[in-house]
C-alpha cells in the first residue's frame, strides 16, 4: 500500500506493507536516530513526534502515519542543540543508546511546559529507560539548561 506523509519537513511517498512499523519505515528513510530497543513499548528509544506529540514508533503502523507529520531527531537538530550539551556536560549519556529518545521526549516536554519542575521532568520522562545511569545526570542536565535560560 502507498503512504504519503511529511517526514522532517519533506513530503515522502512510499510503498509499504500493511504491517510495516513506523520505526522500520523512518529508519529505511535514513532516520537512524530512532532506535529499536525493547519492542514492548516500554523503553522510549523509538520515540518520534507525530503531529507534534511524542509517540512510540515501535507500536505504530507506518500506515497509520499516512497523512500525518512525523519528526525525528534528524529534523530537530537545531531545537535539540540548545540543551544536549548540558546533558553531555553531566555525563548523562554514557553509552548514548537511549539519548535520542530522551532528547525527543525532552523537546516534547519543553514545548508543552517551558518551565517544568524536577517532578514534572521525572514524570514526563518516565517512559524513557536508561540502563547505564540512575537518571540523575539527565535530570541535572535539563535543570542546568533551564536555569541557564533564566540568567
Amino acid at each position: 500500500m502507498e503512504i504519503r506523509l511529511t517526514l522532517n519537513g519533506k513530503v515522502v511517498c512510499a510503498d509499504v506493507r500493511p504491517d510495516t512499523l513506523l520505526l522500520d519505515f523512518v529508519r529505511q528513510q535514513g532516520c537512524v536516530s530512532v532506535k529499536r530497543g525493547c519492542e514492548t513499548a516500554n523503553c522510549g528509544l523509538c520515540t518520534v513526534l507525530m503531529d507534534g506529540k511524542p509517540v512510540l514508533s515501535c507500536s505504530t503502523l507506518a500506515a497509520r502515519a499516512d497523512g500525518h507529520t512525523v519528526q525525528t531527531l534528524e529534523g530537530l537538530q537545531a531545537e535539540a542543540a540548545d540543551f544536549v550539551t548540558f546533558i553531555a556536560d553531566q555525563g548523562a549519556e554514557q553509552c548514548g543508546f537511549c539519548n535520542p529518545g530522551f532528547v525527543m521526549n525532552t523537546i516534547a516536554l519543553l514545548r508543552e511546559n517551558p518551565d517544568p519542575t524536577d517532578d514534572d521532568i521525572r514524570a514526563f520522562l518516565a517512559g524513557n529507560l536508561c540502563r547505564c545511569s540512575g537518571y540523575e545526570g539527565q535530570l541535572r542536565g535539563i535543570r542546568a539548561y533551564l536555569d541557564s535560560r533564566k540568567k
Binding site: 506493507r17 515501535c58 507500536s59 503502523l61 500506515a63 497509520r64 518516565a126 517512559g127
Partner: protein, 256 residues
C-alpha cells in the same frame, strides 16, 4: 510477531462495523497490546478517520470518543476538575507519556483487562459505554459481556454530576502493571468503590459506610483476591484494606 494482510481506514461506523464482521479482522486501538501478540490479522481496521478522537461536552455529560488517548484524559481540565484529579491519577503511572499518547480509551476498555486502571475508574464513576450495535450500557454491564462479540466501542459517556472521586493503585515499580487498583466515588450521597487487578477484572461495591476503617473491612471482606506473578492473594487483600482506607480518608477531605 503481528502480521497484517490488509489495512483499512473506514469512513463511516457502518463501514467499520461491516469490516469488523469478517473473520480475522481486528479493530485497532492503540495497538500496544495487539502488537505484542504472535498473530495474523486479515484486516486491521483503523478508526482514525471517524472523528472519535475528541472529548465532547454537553451540559449533562462528557462524551469521550474511542480514539481519545490516555494522555488526553490525563490533561483534560474538565474531566480532572469533575474527578478532583482522579482521571490523571488513574493513567499517570501507565508507562510513559509516549505510551499514553498512543494508547486509546477504546482499546483500554475493549480488552476488559483485569489490570485496567481506566476500567476501574470509569466503572466507579457510573460511566456508560456506547457500542455501535449493542447500544448504551453501564461499564459494569459492558465488562460482563463476552469479549468475542463483534461490535464497535464508539464512546464512553461520563455524567457531569458533581462527585467526589479518588484513584489509588499499588505497583511493584512505578510504571509497571498494577498489583491492585482502587477507585472511590461519592455521588448523590452514596459511596461506591471499584477494585481491579485482583488480578481479575474490576468489580464495584455500592453503598459503603463513610467510616474509612469500616469501608476498608467491608470491601476487603467481600471481594475475592487471587494470586499471579505480581502478588499473592493475601497481599492483595491487605493492600486493598490500605488503599480503601486511604482513599476514603482522601474522599472525605474533598470539598463539594
Amino acid at each position: 510477531m503481528l502480521r497484517i494482510k490488509t489495512y483499512a481506514r473506514p469512513q463511516t461506523l457502518q463501514e467499520a462495523w461491516e469490516l469488523c464482521q469478517k473473520k480475522g479482522s481486528v479493530v485497532l486501538g492503540g495497538m500496544l497490546w495487539l502488537k505484542m501478540q504472535n498473530r495474523a490479522v486479515t484486516t486491521a481496521i483503523d478508526l482514525q478517520d471517524l472523528g472519535l478522537d475528541k472529548i465532547e461536552e454537553t451540559k449533562q455529560e462528557y462524551r469521550i470518543g474511542a480514539m481519545v488517548t490516555l494522555r488526553d484524559l490525563e490533561t483534560h481540565e474538565g474531566l480532572n476538575a469533575l474527578t478532583h484529579g482522579a482521571m490523571a491519577d488513574c493513567v499517570k503511572h501507565i508507562v510513559g507519556v509516549q505510551f499514553r499518547n498512543v494508547a486509546t480509551v477504546g482499546g483500554s476498555l475493549w480488552g476488559r483487562f483485569g489490570f485496567s486502571d481506566v476500567l476501574t475508574l470509569f466503572m466507579v464513576m457510573g460511566a456508560r459505554v456506547e457500542l455501535y450495535r449493542g447500544g448504551v450500557m453501564t461499564v459494569e454491564e459492558f465488562a460482563a459481556r463476552p469479549r468475542t462479540e463483534r461490535d464497535l466501542l464508539v464512546r464512553v459517556i461520563v455524567p457531569r454530576k458533581p462527585m467526589k472521586a479518588v484513584y489509588l493503585s499499588q505497583r511493584n515499580s512505578a510504571t509497571d502493571f498494577p498489583v491492585l487498583t482502587c477507585a472511590l466515588c461519592e455521588r448523590d450521597g452514596e459511596i461506591t468503590c471499584a477494585v481491579g487487578a485482583r488480578p481479575a477484572q474490576a468489580v464495584c461495591l455500592k453503598g459503603l459506610p463513610d467510616d474509612p476503617e469500616e469501608a476498608a473491612e467491608v470491601v476487603a471482606g467481600e471481594l475475592h483476591f487471587g494470586s499471579n506473578l505480581r502478588a499473592g492473594a493475601e497481599y492483595r487483600a491487605r493492600i486493598c484494606r490500605v488503599l480503601v482506607r486511604r482513599g476514603m480518608a482522601a474522599l472525605l477531605e474533598q470539598e463539594d
